[in-house]
């Protein structure tokens, strides 16, 4: 005889919270611990890292490239690169999220600035509306503190940083788009980034 099966009509599990308490089992593990797992070729640990940071990596790649197919290529490259050389991540230099985003952003920027992308505009669409990008970044800020730090920037500083990072532009290109002197744009980016560093000091990403 087979086991007794109870069909639960309960539509929302939280209503039976007395019986079931969902737990974040794997989130108890630190990023460093997961990296160690990847070093021992544990794919489930890479999957956990992907679950934690794959969304952010995809987000930055898509913003820079504005091409979903290319963005997915960058996400794949980023995690394959990390899988092949996990020992290159140094936890004393920053968080794992920062490390993965650095790989992804650099790769996305390389594509945007490639000769092929410059000549084939269908590959990477033209500049987005950076005001909308700014608004999205503010709306989806990872915390109130980040939101306040970004809104605390001078508007010109925030725009220059947004265009450079999420547009994949050099400061020379930002200056060209804004019709501003290169030195002015450099100063806006430098001052804005330093303000952010001060206001966000100690906040681990």
């Amino acid at each position: 005889m087979g086991p007794k099966i109870h069909a639960e009509p309960t539509p929302v599990l939280s209503s039976v919270a007395d019986v079931v308490a969902f737990s974040a089992v794997k989130t108890d593990r630190s990023d460093t611990d997961l990296v160690r797992g990847v070093e021992t070729r544990d794919q489930s640990d890479l999957k956990e890292i992907y679950d934690r940071f794959g969304g952010a990596v995809h987000s930055v790649a898509l913003k820079v490239l504005r091409n979903p197919g290319l963005a997915e290529d960058v996400v794949q490259e980023t995690f394959v690169t990390f899988w092949n050389s996990p020992e290159r991540f140094d936890s004393t230099r920053g968080s794992l999220k920062t490390y993965l985003l650095t790989i992804a952003h650099r790769r996305a920027v390389d594509i945007v600035r490639s000769e092929e992308a410059r000549t084939r505009r269908e590959l990477v669409p033209p500049d987005p509306d950076y005001t909308s990008v700014e608004e999205e970044i503010l709306t989806r800020a990872t915390s109130e503190l980040v939101h306040h730090a970004l809104t605390d920037l001078d508007e010109n500083e925030r725009k220059a940083i947004t265009m450079a990072y999420f547009g994949g532009l050099t400061y020379v290109e930002v200056a060209d788009r804004l019709g501003a002197p290169e030195g002015t744009v450099k100063s806006r980016i430098r001052n804005g980034m330093r303000k952010l560093a001060i206001n966000l000091e100690g906040l681990e990403s």
Binding site: V12, L13, S14, F22, S59, W83, R140, Y171, G192
Partner: protein, 240 residues
């Protein structure tokens, strides 16, 4: 202005990848030698990552990554890795997740999967279904069904050796690309531990569980799966 001072002025721009190519080379040469500037760069890069919103990881992309590391990864990926990559391509990703109490079982679970490859072709949906049927008929196996109303939407088989099978049927509706089904094991101490992220339109899948359990739950979650369910439950099995 010294080279150090000049470089320091450019670090925020380098952190944004906003320098011109000729300046990048100079910056990177300096960073190899200057710990002060390297530390400043770490700080600036942390700032850039804070600007990037956290979002759910696109679930379908994991299949590509898993396939890529199976074919291009360094030596050390054994047959179990190859197996999981192939299975993921065919029946959606399955994340092996066990609680701390079952940490030892994870090791044996992996070995069991490898051994079973010899007798059961678990790289195809048909192979998983056949293996599930064989396991269901074996002594000591637990067999249950997830019901929605009176309609069975998926069968769960957990063999005595800890290898489990989830076999959905056509009554389990496909979800949009932004959603996924997720399987949970309910433990006697009233915890629910994720046994796998099944995808938006799951096929037959396997999981491992060798510890005590009190039931199973099937939920709908955001793509990529979650570590703590918001409670969108499809069905629960208690005391199977």
């Amino acid at each position: 202005m010294t080279e150090h001072s000049w470089i320091q002025e450019l670090i925020p721009l380098y952190a944004l990848d906003a320098l011109e190519a000729n300046e990048v080379a100079e910056m990177e040469t300096h960073l190899l030698e200057c710990e002060i500037c390297a530390a400043e760069l770490d700080s600036q890069r942390a700032v850039t990552s804070l600007m990037v919103p956290d979002e759910p990881a696109p679930e379908h992309l994991w299949d590509r990554i898993e396939s890529a590391i199976a074919t291009t990864g360094p030596s050390g990926s054994g047959s179990v890795h190859d197996f999981t990559a192939e299975r993921a391509k065919r029946s959606g990703p399955m994340m092996w997740v066990l609680g701390a109490a079952a940490a030892v079982a994870l090791v044996f679970g992996g070995a069991l999967v490898g051994q079973r490859l010899a007798s059961s072709d678990l790289t195809t949906a048909e192979g998983v279904v056949a293996a599930a049927e064989a396991a269901a008929a074996a002594p000591g196996s637990v067999v249950s069904e997830f019901l929605v109303g009176d309609v069975a939407v998926a069968r769960v088989v957990l063999a005595e050796d800890g290898l489990g099978y989830l076999i959905p049927n056509d009554s389990l509706d496909a979800l949009g690309d932004d959603r996924t089904y997720q399987l949970w094991v309910l433990t006697p101490d009233e915890m629910a531990i994720s046994a796998g992220v099944l995808g938006s339109d799951p096929g037959p899948a396997t999981f491992t569980w060798t510890d005590d359990f009190a039931g199973f739950a099937l939920t709908r979650e955001v793509a990529g799966g979650v570590v703590s369910s918001a409670g969108d439950v499809v069905s629960v099995i208690v005391d199977p």
